[in-house]
Symmetry: C2
Subunit: 295 residues, 2 copies
C-alpha cells in the first residue's frame, strides 16, 4: 500500500502455541495468527508462511520460551537450549527465521518481550524497575531494571527458584524434570493438573486449589520482591489470569511480608502493585514487535 | 596539605559496628576507624568527631544497614526504617550527618555500597550485572544490573526471601522477628548462634553446622540466580568468609541447579562465579567512598 508506514513482525513462541503478528503496536495490528506448536521444522515453516503472506516486515522480533541462548557472540545465539519440551532442546529458532525471511531478527525471552510490551503500551508504562510474571503451562519471569531488559549471565528463570514446600500438608512431589518441587514444579498449570488430576479450567471455584496456588505464587513473589524490589509486578498467563486468583495472591504477599518493607505498594496499594497485563494475551507478541522496532 | 588531592569520607554503618574512612580508594586510605554501634546519638557523634579530626572531606558516602529510605523525595530520606535493632528504628542517619558536617551526603544500603566498591576496585570489575551478598549477623544483598546499583521500589532485601525449610530435619524455628524462618532467619550468624548455642567462630570444623549453612545459603542463591541471573556473586560478611564455607556453597548450588541453566559459570566455572570480596572487610567503607566520589 503506497505511503503506508512500514511494519514489524513479532512472534511469541510458546511451548503449546505460537502467536505471530504484523504491525507497529496495539492500535495498528495488521494481521495476527495463533497456531499450535508441533515439531520445530513444521512450526517455523508455519511462521515463515505467515510473514511471507502478511509481510513484508522491516524486522522481526521473537520472544521465546526457554531457556534460550541470548549471547550475541555465541554460536548458538537464538537457540532454545535445555527445554524439557520433547523435540525442542537445542533448536535453532532465530537464525533459521533470519535465513528464511531475510530480515534482521531480535531475540529475547517470551517474558522479557511481554515486559517490553507492557512497558511501551500497557501496565508498566513509566516504570524503570518492574517484573512480568507468566503463570501458564510453566512459570517464567522477566522484566526491566533501570529501564533496561534484564539479561545478566543467561537470563532470569523465575520458575526455577525454590519455595518452601510443606510436604505434610501438600505431599505432591512437583513436576519439574530438573528440580521436582521448584516454583514451576509446584505452581505451574502442569503442576495443578498433575496434583488435582484435572485441568486448571475445570477447577474453577475450588477454594482449596486456588488458596494453595495463591500461597505458592506469593512465596515466589516474596523472593522476587526481596531480590529485585520491583515497582510493580504484572502477572499474565493462562493460570495467572484466572478470575479471582490475583486478589488471593495479593493477600498472601502482604501477609508474608508482614510489614517489613515499608512502602504503600506493599500494603494499602497492593492492588496497583500486583496487576494483570493491560495487553492481555497479546503482551508477548506486541512486545516482540517492540523488540523488532528497537533493532 | 597544599596540593594534595581532596578526599572523600565513607561510612559503613552496621548493626554491630561502624567503619569510617577518609581517602580516595584502596591505595589512598588516609584514615580508618572501626567502633561499636551503640545508641544513634552516640554513634553518629563518634563518626562526626572522626571526620572533624581526619577531614576535611569533599563529600560523604554512607552505606547503611537497613531497611532504609532511599527515596530522594521522601521526608525520611536517609533514615533507617523498620530495623529490628533496638533503638534504631526510624532513625535519621544521612540528614543528621549532612547537618553536622556541612558536606553533601550520598546514602545507599551497606550491600550496594560494598557492591560499588567491588565493582570499582575488586572482584566485580568490568561486570554489569552482579550481586554482593553479606552473611554476618544478618543477611543482605545488593548489586548492579546493567551497570547501575539496584534500587527499585524500596531496595533489595535478599535476607527476607523464603527458602525451603524441612522442619523434620531442622526443627529450628528461625530468628527473624518479622518472618521466623526466612533466609536470614535460618542462615544468618544470629541464626547459627541460636540454633547451636555457640557463636559461629566457636563452631569451626563442625561438619554438620557448615553443611546445613551451605545448604541454606545455596537455596537462597538459587533464588537470586533465578531472578537476577548475575554474572558473579561476591559473598562477604563474618559468616560468609568463614574458611571452607564457599566451596561447600558452590557444590550445593551446582547440585540444586542440576544443569538446567547452561553456562560454564554454573558448572566448571563455579569457582569464579561465587567468590569472596577482593576488598575483604573494607568493601563497604571503600564503596561508601565511591558513593561520595560519584556525587
Amino acid at each position: 500500500m503506497p505511503g503506508r508506514v512500514s511494519a514489524f513482525g513479532g512472534i511469541e513462541t510458546g511451548g503449546s502455541k505460537w502467536q505471530c503478528a504484523v504491525g507497529t503496536g496495539p492500535e495498528d495490528l495488521r494481521a495476527i495468527e495463533t497456531f499450535s506448536t508441533t515439531t520445530p521444522t513444521e512450526t517455523v515453516a508455519h511462521a515463515v508462511a505467515f510473514f511471507e503472506r502478511e509481510g513484508p516486515v522491516e524486522a522481526l522480533g521473537v520472544g521465546s520460551f526457554g531457556p534460550v541462548d541470548l549471547s550475541p557472540s555465541s554460536p548458538t545465539w537464538g537457540h532454545v537450549t535445555t527445554t524439557p519440551k520433547p523435540g525442542w532442546a537445542n533448536t535453532d529458532v532465530a537464525p533459521e527465521l533470519r535465513r528464511r525471511l531475510s530480515v534482521p531478527v531480535a531475540f529475547d525471552t517470551d517474558v522479557n518481550a511481554a515486559a517490553l510490551g507492557e512497558h511501551r503500551w500497557g501496565a508498566a508504562q513509566g516504570l524503570d524497575t518492574f517484573c512480568y510474571l507468566t503463570v501458564g503451562t510453566g512459570i517464567g519471569g522477566g522484566g526491566m531494571v533501570g529501564g533496561k531488559l534484564l539479561h545478566g549471565l543467561v537470563h532470569p528463570e523465575f520458575g526455577h527458584l525454590r519455595v518452601p514446600h510443606d510436604t505434610a500438608f501438600d505431599p505432591f512431589p512437583g513436576v519439574c524434570p530438573y528440580h521436582g518441587d521448584c516454583w514451576e514444579g509446584l505452581a505451574s498449570g502442569r503442576a495443578i493438573e498433575a496434583r488435582w488430576a484435572k485441568a486448571p479450567e475445570e477447577l474453577a471455584g475450588e477454594e482449596e486449589v486456588w488458596e494453595l496456588e495463591a500461597h505458592y505464587l506469593a512465596l515466589g513473589l516474596v523472593c522476587v520482591i526481596s531480590v529485585l524490589s520491583p515497582q510493580r509486578i504484572v502477572v499474565g498467563g493462562g493460570v495467572g489470569t484466572v478470575p479471582g486468583l490475583l486478589p488471593r495472591v495479593r493477600r498472601h504477599v502482604v501477609d508474608l511480608l508482614n510489614g517489613y518493607l515499608r512502602s504503600p505498594a506493599l500494603g494499602q496499594g497492593i492492588d496497583d502493585f500486583i496487576v494483570p497485563p493491560a495487553l492481555g494475551a497479546r503482551a508477548g507478541v506486541l512486545g516482540a514487535i517492540a523488540l523488532a522496532a528497537a533493532l
